[in-house]
């Protein structure tokens, strides 16, 4: 059961081989400054590593950052692993270089939100706070 008074827990992860982690780290800091508990996986994480870390850390939200264009190959695998492991209630958001036309296909996979370049950290904090609150049933 979720404890409504505990801070929201977020896993920030970099799937694939992409090493550009400025955005992921800035967002990790912004979420932490907003009072959330944040775990950052580091770069080059496989789908298995990410879902395992999310499950071990019992996070409410997974934030994935991907700039290399591999999102349509990598993200479906993460989502299907999560389904297999009964983690459908964990909120998944994605940021990075994601073309507009890929937004809907990603949402169809069960990804809650896609944040493109130029999104403010304020918007992301707000979105996560609102959607994780729903998850906790508050």
């Amino acid at each position: 059961m979720q404890d409504r008074n505990r801070p929201i827990r977020v896993l920030v992860a970099k799937p694939g081989l992409d090493g550009h982690d400025r955005g992921a780290k800035v967002i990790a800091r912004a979420l932490r400054d907003a009072g959330m508990e944040v775990i950052y996986t580091g770069i080059r994480q496989s789908p298995q590593m990410i879902t395992q870390a999310a499950s071990q850390e019992d996070v409410d939200v997974i934030g994935l950052s991907i700039l290399s264009g591999a999102h349509l190959e990598i993200l479906p695998e993460i989502m299907s692993l999560m389904r297999e492991q009964g983690m459908e209630d964990v909120i998944v958001v994605v940021g990075g270089i994601i073309p507009e036309v890929d937004r809907q296909p990603l949402k169809d996979l069960g990804i809650s939100e896609v944040f493109g370049p130029g999104t403010s950290t304020g918007e992301i904090v707000e979105y996560i706070r609102e959607s994780a609150k729903d998850r906790a049933g508050a």
């Binding site: 081989l17 550009h20 400025r22 780290k25 800091r29 944040v38 080059r44 264009g69 270089i97 130029g118």
Partner: protein
């Protein structure tokens, strides 16, 4: 009565005016946080303690300390090399893009490799899934390099390769592909980035831990000093650290502390400073703050000349000359109002020209969203051509030399960067500082501060936090064809079927033995390449001997 000095002017003329009409901001600062006075005058250079000396600190272009340029006449002989970074899909598709760029008047090539190639995995490796051909071209073997250069004379074109962990391998692919065109290794010219240290600090395409990686870097220095005399053996890069959030001061400091580590490693391996010093080259960003960037390039030349002469005792002037490539700043490209990026790139490119860069890549307007379309790349090239042949900026050496402001910034950036280098020296040098996470922390702090300034509105980004408009999604973005990855994997499978397996095995075995000793690895890698060993096979051998680097998780 006119003021007789700056203090009087400030008291009697400036202050009363500001009192009536307050300035736009309380503090004016450069992008790197240096405070900007309202006006610069001779006092800024002649203040006690500064001890400004034209001959010692600036001198003449082509002469020590090269502040004003490494060539006596800079662009009056030949303008900079226009070198647009490109690569995607397959070797055949990239070959077509290269030929197009050369047809359009580009004067050098710059290869973007995909991530599996940069990290040492073949296109059919599990970890390569989704990444093949995406951010660059996949090159898994000599056969791919031969295709990449089909119809491009390798004795005529100079080629820059953004390749680090696998640099020696890609250089060997290039050497052997050239040989197959009848071009010997002493005729080819170009650059391998080969700057592994900044990969641990930013960018992240490392494979092995830092210390064995340093040996691979020095192996290239050694091999090229003896065999590939026209090759730039490294491009020590501030670009990616700055893109990750570093300030201009940090860009200078971390680049040169990495450079110091490479030079020291080569000296420790028994090389002589003037045997490899002239082939060291550099890579910086051209960011938004026009004058700070020009000052940065000038400070960089002076710093490097003094580091090589005073710290390492170089005697050959060519060892002291800082030659560098520049690229405009990817992080400043906005997804909103993308045509604005053309203007940003133009201002940034101008700073590189005013700063005396030897070669330049201008980013494209659509790159916040995708790889650039062919039209966008053509505009980037045209930007360079307009600057070169219409603006007049290329007709005089160091046009901003003597500007009180630019000279003051040059001095200040140098002093602050030297202070940082001393801190890194105290930590045990760049490699030790990297192992302690020093640079990553410093850059992370600067990146976060920058972000907060944008969000508070303290820092304006046109079209993002001011002057915004509603706009439809942009059309005509480049998309890498998914079939490219399948074609690449089929090519690789065909290669594995057709080559001589026993030769492959013995070449890989020989490489393993060499890697375990202190012998130069390059000849053994060449032998692997000649026998069509794949990139993944070679790197697997080296991972086995050297181990793998783990990523950092602090933020």
């Amino acid at each position: 009565m006119p003021s007789s000095d700056k203090k009087q002017w400030q008291r009697e003329t400036l202050d009363p005016a500001v009192k009536r009409f307050p300035e736009r901001r309380e503090n004016f600062q450069t992008d790197s946080g240096l405070t900007i006075d309202p006006l610069y005058s001779p006092e800024n250079l002649q203040a006690p303690g500064l001890d400004y000396d034209y001959n010692r600190d600036l001198g003449y272009p082509g002469e020590f300390p090269y502040t004003r340029g490494v060539q006596p006449n800079t662009y009056r002989g030949r303008v900079w090399t226009m070198r647009q970074y490109s690569g995607y899909g397959t070797a055949a598709e990239t070959n077509a893009r290269f030929r197009y760029l050369l047809d359009q008047g580009q004067t050098g090539l710059s290869i973007a490799f995909d991530l599996p190639t940069q990290i040492g995995y073949d296109s059919d490796h599990l970890l390569a899934k989704g990444e093949v051909g995406k951010v660059g071209v996949p090159i898994c073997s000599l056969a791919d390099m031969e295709t990449l250069f089909e119809g491009i004379p390798m004795d005529k074109v100079s080629t820059s390769m953004t390749i680090n962990a696998t640099a020696s391998l890609l250089l060997c692919f290039y050497i052997v592909a050239a040989r197959k065109q009848g071009v010997s290794q002493d005729q080819i010219s170009g650059t391998v980035q080969n700057d592994i240290l900044k990969e641990y600090i930013a960018r992240g395409t490392y494979a092995y831990p830092p210390r064995p990686s340093m040996r691979l870097v020095v192996d290239i220095f050694k091999y090229c000093a003896e065999n590939v005399p026209k090759w730039n053996t490294i491009s020590i890069s501030g670009y990616h650290m700055r893109e990750a959030g570093a300030t201009a001061v940090q860009e200078l400091a971390f680049t040169f502390s990495n450079a110091i580590a490479y030079v020291q490693a080569a000296l420790d391996a028994g090389l002589k400073i003037d045997d490899f010093g002239p082939r060291l080259s550099f890579f910086f960003v051209a960011q938004n703050n026009l004058f700070e960037e020009v000052a940065k390039f000038r400070a960089a030349r002076r710093m490097w000349a003094r580091i090589m002469k005073d710290r390492f005792g170089a005697k050959d002037p060519r060892s002291m000359m800082l030659r560098f490539h520049t690229q405009t700043a990817g992080v400043t490209l906005t997804a909103q109002q993308t045509d604005n990026n053309l203007i940003r790139c133009t201002v940034q490119a101008l700073s590189a020209i005013l700063g005396g860069s030897q070669s330049l890549h201008v980013n494209s307007r659509d790159e916040a969203l995708a790889l650039p379309s062919e039209d966008s790349v053509q505009l980037s090239l045209r930007t360079q051509q307009i600057l070169a042949f219409e603006s007049g900026a290329a007709d005089v050496v160091d046009p901003l030399g003597g500007s009180y402001y630019v000279e003051s910034l040059t001095n200040e950036l140098e002093a602050k960067a030297l202070e940082y280098i001393r801190r890194i020296d105290d930590l045990g040098g760049s490699v030790a500082a990297i192992e302690q996470g020093f640079q990553v922390r410093e850059i992370g702090d600067a990146a976060y501060q920058h972000r907060q300034e944008v969000e508070s509105g303290d820092r304006t980004i046109v079209g993002v936090n001011r002057f915004t408009t509603e706009e439809p999604p942009i059309e005509g973005l480049m998309r890498v064809d998914e079939a490219a990855a399948r074609t690449q994997v089929e090519r690789l499978e065909q290669l594995r079927r057709e080559r001589d397996d026993s030769k492959v095995k013995s070449a890989l075995e020989r490489l393993k033995q060499v890697a375990q000793t202190e012998e130069n690895t390059v000849p053994a890698i060449l032998e692997c390449v000649e026998n069509y060993c794949t990139l993944g096979e070679v790197c697997e051998v080296l991972r086995g001997v050297f181990g793998e680097q783990e990523g950092a998780i602090s933020f």
